[in-house]
């Protein structure tokens, strides 16, 4: 079944650690996105990609980085986690020519 997956679903980590949040989709979509969402707040786009080897920063400045080496995979990395990075991170994808984005289940990150 075509879907979009994120791991881990929950992560508690200490300050200064390097973390990678995984996102994979089996829908054959070209476009993928990372959003950050704090409780009660809007989703803010932090990174997006229109295809392999294409990555762009979103509207919200983020210290994270992304890569797109394979169409189905769009990992997000924080080199040195800080408490200010505590948030929910949502990955999404959309097909070419389509505005409808489909979301993964999200990763809730807590940095102590």
């Amino acid at each position: 079944e075509a879907d979009i997956y994120q791991t881990p679903r929950y992560l508690v980590i200490g300050t200064g650690k390097k973390i990678t949040l995984e996102c994979s989709q089996t829908m054959g979509h070209d476009k993928m996105y990372w959003y950050q969402q704090d409780p009660g707040m809007e989703l803010h786009l932090i990174h997006y990609s229109y295809g392999v080897n294409s990555t762009e920063k979103g509207d919200l400045s983020s210290e994270s980085t992304v890569s797109r080496i394979r169409t189905e995979h769009f990992p997000l990395t924080l080199e040195s986690a800080r408490p200010s990075h505590t948030s929910q991170y949502l990955c999404a994808s959309s097909g070419s020519g389509g505005e409808t984005q489909y979301f993964g289940p999200g990763t809730r990150l807590l940095v102590l």
Binding site: E42, L43, L45, D59, P105, G106
Partner: protein
């Protein structure tokens, strides 16, 4: 700056009530408006609206867009406790980038 405003931010009703959620927007080069339902996990897609005055319907949910007045409404009739969620409105714009601008959402609580 593109902006999406949802109202009310929070709403508590009883099962069987009908609710109307509002979404207004100010964006350049509007392309479409999307509604999502977010429970404890990821936003799930409900509707995409591109043309004024054409109602989209799915079961007890319906939505309509007014491009002249720059707003959309989402109606839910005969509400059930399972409708409790945050309802997100997002707007996509034309011009290459297929990014979505999200509102803060309306938190709907349906009590038995």
């Amino acid at each position: 700056e593109d902006k999406v405003v949802q109202s009310p931010l929070s709403l508590v009703v009883h099962e069987g009530d009908t609710v109307t959620l509002n979404c207004s927007y100010e964006v350049t080069n509007f392309r479409s408006l999307l509604w999502y339902k977010q429970e404890k996990k990821a936003p799930t897609f409900l509707f995409m609206l591109t043309s004024s005055g054409i109602e989209k319907k799915s079961g007890r949910l319906s939505s309509i867009l007014d491009k002249k007045e720059l707003f959309s409404i989402l109606n839910i009739t005969a509400t059930q406790t399972g409708d409790s969620a945050i309802y997100l409105c997002a707007v996509s714009t034309q011009g290459g980038s297929e990014k979505l601008v999200f509102g803060k959402g309306t938190k709907l609580t349906v009590n038995p």
